[in-house]
Symmetry: C2
Subunit: 323 residues, 2 copies
């Protein structure tokens, strides 16, 4: 196959995939870098990983800034490791297009796990465009999956659409809340209240935890559910002391079982694959645009729109018609 | 032209545009609804508005939840109205795909302006997909622009990519911060610190305002700027008491003047028009996919990907090749 093809550094993608599958952390890191940098080898990486992915439970971890996502992620890693599971952590920073890199402020405490060979930790910046997250994350997840991770924790930085995009790529989504984050409607506004498979009230030793619990319960009671649907549990934790984390792991395991039995796992994975294929197809069409027309043609059309001679729909039609 | 074409309700788009230009708020509302609902008349609306847009200053208002965006927007409306300007307000809620509507919690105080015929206020939900914001917002802005608004305030709900997307569509971006929002890195994580043209420290009568000011200054001092570049000012406000809002309006006016003189206004508008044309072109290609292949073909490809028989790049190639 492509085993003879060598990357610029003289390593073939198939060798990297082989080594990643055997648990070599440097091979895992290299593969994720190839994905993140949109390397010319991306297609080859994608093809090389395809046969080996599909085993990991992908867990999205979302919640407003300050709620303790990193601490909770770290505590979850520790607890999952105790049960002998191989764990991947992908910290995605989709909202930092202007700095070009993930902020490392509170990644520091993940250092506890940095020397554990059964834990892969990776920060990823998705470099600014809305498509970035949709495009790079599934490939990076596939690397960790092929490397034999049983659970992959995906933590996003920031709230809003990026959170929802991550939830769309996860098998199970943890929504973290904490007391004293301002009134409930502010949290609801972030759009993250509806997407949880498991709700975690972190910092539950603080005043107001019961209030948060009531708000989540009220919100959940409004959702329509059929017989056999998953009923999202609410777990209270103090992640900094690892309190309640066992229960979160247990609920994740329950959710995984439910996903398989109900057929929802298959449905979610088909939906994700569809989205991914479409995203790649559209990206490839966009570059075909650029190849066909160059930047000048688009500039001309843009100029016509801003002077009112044309409108964006007519301009788009002209662009599409010439393909 | 299209004057003879009637919408289902028996009103022609050209009539609506005429009435909107004369300041009829119902016509403005109807046009925005047509845009928001992706009405079949969307193209006609777009064409009808094209000649009349391009005069308004589009001001994006961003900041973390709880910072006082709605209060500040309301105070800005009041101050702008005192100078006789016609004002549009577009509250975009891109992060609420699951509820299908904008949350109205703190819209209530905008009621102060609800009876002012020179103020248009509109909440928009963009219904869940990442492209939603990019697609509907520019058209809604064009409606308000054609209706003669001098300034359009665009306020988003939620932070993260949606904020950045809004900043990409604005002429001037206000970034709101306030004391006591947690440590600076949390705010920076939201990715909104880099995108401001004007920084507003709201709730500046609270302890910690100077700390926030120092943090913003430090961050701004790190940015590379050339001679003639805009230097973002930092304004302190207490929006609930309208304190400092005059100064924000003044800085907005300064920024508008700088945009025109420096040529940056033209550059930003060309960039926006390009993005808009591309977004529409890609959307139209997506529906061409659907027409050509139906859902079944994409399901087959997705199935091949999740079973490891294919990979997403190969699947996307198959999709594109058949166009």
């Amino acid at each position: 196959m492509t085993r003879s093809k060598k990357s610029r550094q003289g390593v073939s993608v198939d060798d990297l995939v082989d080594r990643a599958r055997k648990g070599d952390p440097r091979a895992v890191a290299r593969l994720i870098s190839l994905v993140e940098d949109a390397s010319p080898l991306l297609r080859e990486v994608s093809a090389g990983l395809a046969p080996y992915a599909g085993n990991a439970q992908i867990v999205g971890i979302t919640g407003p800034p300050g709620v303790g996502k990193s601490t909770s992620t770290s505590a979850l890693v520790a607890t999952l490791r105790k049960t002998g599971q191989r764990v991947g952590v992908l910290a995605v920073d989709p909202s930092s297009p202007f700095t070009g890199g993930a902020l490392l402020g509170d990644r520091v405490r993940m250092q506890d796990h940095a020397t554990d060979p059964e834990v892969y930790i990776r920060s990823m910046a998705t470099r600014g465009h809305l498509g970035g997250l949709a495009w790079a994350t599934p490939q990076a997840l596939r690397v960790l999956d092929a490397a034999g991770c049983d659970v992959i924790l995906v933590e996003t930085v920031g709230v809003g659409q990026s959170e929802i995009a991550i939830a769309g790529q996860a098998d199970s989504t943890l929504v973290l809340m904490s007391p004293g984050m301002g009134d409930g409607i502010q949290a609801a506004k972030a759009g993250i209240l509806e997407i949880g498979d498991i709700y975690v009230i972190n910092k539950a030793d603080r005043e107001g935890a019961n209030q948060v619990r009531r708000e989540i319960r009220t919100m959940l009671s409004l959702a329509e559910r059929d017989e056999g649907d998953w009923r999202p549990p609410i777990v209270q934790t103090v992640a900094i002391k690892s309190e309640g984390i066992d229960e979160v792991v247990e609920k994740l395991s329950d959710h995984r079982a439910w996903l398989s039995e109900s057929g929802e796992l298959q449905r979610r994975r088909v939906r994700r694959a569809r989205d991914e294929i479409e995203t790649i197809a559209v990206t490839s069409l966009r570059s075909r645009f650029a190849d066909l027309h160059g930047d000048e043609r688009l500039d001309e059309l843009a100029e016509a729109v801003i002077t009112g001679q044309s409108d964006p729909y007519a301009a788009a039609d002209q662009l599409v018609a010439s393909m």
